[in-house]
Amino acid sequence: MKLNLARFFTIRKVLSFLLLCAIVYSAYSIYYKVKYWGFSLSPKAVTDVWTVDAKVSFNALGENVKVSLAVPNDKDGFKILSEEVVAKGYEITRDKVNSRVIMTAPLKTGKQNLYYRLSIYDDAQNVALNSLVPAKVERPILSDEERLQMSKIWKLSQNQKGDKVQKAILAVNQEVNNPTMSLILPITHTTKEFAEKVIQVLAYKRIPARIARTIKLEEGRKTEKPDIMLEAYLDGRWKLYDLVSAKIGLPKNWVIVQRGGVSLLDVKGGEDSIVVFSVLKSVASPLKMAEHRAKANDKLWSYNYSMYTLPVFEQNTLKWLMIFPLAILVVVIMRNIIGVSTMGTFTPMLLAMSLVRTGFWPGLICFSVMIALGLVMRSVVAKLNLLLVPRISFVVIFVILLIQCLTVVGYRFNYSIVSSAIFFPIIITAWIIERASITWEEEGAVNTLKEILFTFITAVVTYFVISNEYVRHVMFAFNELNLVILFIVMLLGTYTGYRLTELMRFAPLIHKDN
């Protein structure tokens, strides 16, 4: 029994299991962050933030004034970033049930301008529309002639495409210019009247329907009247319909301001009231919007313990750190799977990090020059037979002076290639020089150049992985992936297969006659 257990819990199996756990956890975490915090996989993704201004103007008649304005509801797809009312001298209350803002003031006279400003983001098409089940609709009481028209329309609708409501809309559209229809719907009619007619037609079949007022979010748009659409309750849920094309759903970047038969704006104690909507668009990065989204989704507690709430400086440092595990993974693969030998385990990684800051070619050229100069200097010093620590110290100081000279010269003569020297880690540079010169003495120039070349190749591969904008964004925004890398690295620690270079090295061991 004990033996079986031991076989079951081999290191490799345990690590594979942990890796699987890490993958599942990361997948969930990524899903969570995308869904509730609005994180995006792309570094270039932006969130549109719309600012909708409603300006209410009217002439007050010297009485108590009560203004009631229908406003968008945050359950209607869009999320509200901020909401403010500018109405001097007015008392502001909110009617959450009917989603209206009510502004009251005693004894006002003259021209009044009240402002309501709303910033919204996230055009969430999928968010279910108000799902309240409506009361049963009573059939309207109709005259015989009207009833005839109704059945005519429904008959006509049979030839139209779509669901019942779509068919009805299209049929009414078609019949609108027909003189026989004028009894109920005059030839010149408003969209609202048209919508009311459709509602009536639907009521004939006991389909609940209502008017929805919407605004199209469009840069710099100014509109007096919101567009009217139709909402109908079909197949157990509310659906939104365009009144001309009968398309289902709210088009992208539209927002519902108000729904139901009630008016958009009610002004008591005033006349000539008018509301003008204007729309302004701005963009924000998803990372910046994350807090609002987390709050909107009631997930603020988890967000508060994430690194995205840290001050910018700490965040930038962490963003830099979060790329390291991937770079380490590259080094592990290069060494244990590919099988190239490099100078020092993580030297290529640190070199790649420097290249990210200097730019690829300038960094590579400058670094090669530094190594070459260092090697020349080191070979001169080799003849002095210095003791180990002073000799390495000499190389370090030489590298520091070299960096200083290159940077000053680069700055004076405006060669950015030369001045990138300052970004290379001194100790790493000195170490490569020391190591290379010892290898040179012991194993010859060919082996040394080979080793330097492999170090550079590994650094370049690492550079291309970590300098990729997408990779850096993903590793920061979805840092739980580092847990996956952790277990991959551990699992690679149990890899006993041949290294790629060994396939070539051991080629003489393949017998031709086999």
């Binding site: 180990l388 006993t496 041949y498 290294r499 060994e502 396939l503 080629a507 061991l509 393949i510 017998h511």
Partner: protein
């Protein structure tokens, strides 16, 4: 051009041991880290070897501190020839062989004439860790020079030929002889261009010779026919390897053995992670050999019994 990419399967079939496999399945499993110090320090190794009667070059003295450097002449009094080597060196780094000396100069085996100051400097460098692994402070070991047997005279250019025995669980598993060439600069490291001759474990006869991974038949400098190589005292060579297991407890080790004209085979050093080039020199995979030992070889034998078992199978 890229057909080598598909060598994996055949290598596996031929039982070739890869580096990852060696590290994970063999070294990590059978070589305890704490035992490494026994073989990393040549002074320790030598004392251990002497305690169980393994032949090694006799130790003349050690220089541990800078102030002792000047005592060199007192230490080597009575010896015409001696070797200075770093206790933690590897791959022959920092080894200085003194053939003779007079009131003013030392004469090295490679033909250099060195002043006293030069030699003192060499010892100081050794103490400061110039030749040691990781540059740690070191000790200079002074020992008797080996009187190399003439048998191998024609098979090596300048340097010292040695026999590398891979010992697995106390059984000699694979053997090769390493011969210095002009290109290797008198050193016996295969990747520097030395010749490796695989030897049959049970007979000591040459199987194959390689230089830079390519098969050869003649020594590139002396032109001796490498298939004529014959190692005397074969059993004694293997017994030293086998005893190295008893001495260190390392399940997988490489013992480097040289042949002294007067004293027979002597152990120079033990390596806790011997390389895999021996497979190419033998033309055989090591993994299948290790598996054979794992599966069919008996346990609980003494060093000599193990060697006899290997010689008869």
């Amino acid at each position: 051009m890229f057909e080598w990419l598909f060598n994996g399967k055949k290598l596996r079939e031929n039982g070739v041991l890869g580096m990852n496999d060696r590290n994970y399945s063999v070294i990590a499993k059978y070589n305890k880290r704490s035992l490494y110090t026994l073989v990393d320090d040549k002074v320790k190794t030598k004392r251990l070897a002497n305690s169980i009667n393994i032949n090694t070059p006799k130790m003349i003295g050690i220089i541990e501190f800078q102030y002792q450097v000047k005592n060199l002449l007192d230490i080597v009094k009575g010896y015409d020839t001696f070797v200075i080597k770093p206790a933690h060196g590897s791959g022959g780094k920092g080894v200085l062989v003194i053939k003779k000396y007079d009131a003013e100069h030392f004469y090295s085996a490679s033909g250099d004439v060195l002043s006293f100051k030069d030699v003192y400097q060499h010892i100081s460098n050794t103490l400061s860790g110039l030749f040691s692994l990781g540059g740690k402070y070191d000790v200079a070991l002074i020992e008797e020079a080996v009187n190399f047997s003439d048998v191998f005279k024609n098979f090596s250019y300048h340097g010292v030929p040695d026999v590398r025995v891979i010992v697995y669980k106390g059984f000699p598993a694979m053997v090769m002889m390493r011969l210095a060439t002009k290109e290797s600069g008198g050193r016996a490291n295969l990747h520097q261009g030395a010749v490796g001759v695989g030897l049959d474990v049970s007979t000591g006869c040459p199987l194959k010779a390689v230089m830079h991974n390519k098969p050869i038949l003649q020594h590139p400098d002396t032109h001796a026919n490498l298939m004529d190589l014959k190692v005397p005292f074969w059993r004694e060579h293997l017994i030293i390897g086998s005893l190295a297991y008893d001495m260190t407890g390392l399940g997988y080790l490489g013992a480097d053995i040289v042949l002294d004209e007067n004293r027979g085979p002597m152990m120079l050093e033990v390596n806790a992670r011997p390389g895999l080039a021996i497979q190419i020199a033998n033309g055989k995979g090591l993994k299948s050999r290790l598996q054979e030992i794992d599966e069919t070889y008996p346990s609980g034998l003494s060093a000599e019994e193990r060697v006899d078992y290997v010689l008869n199978h």
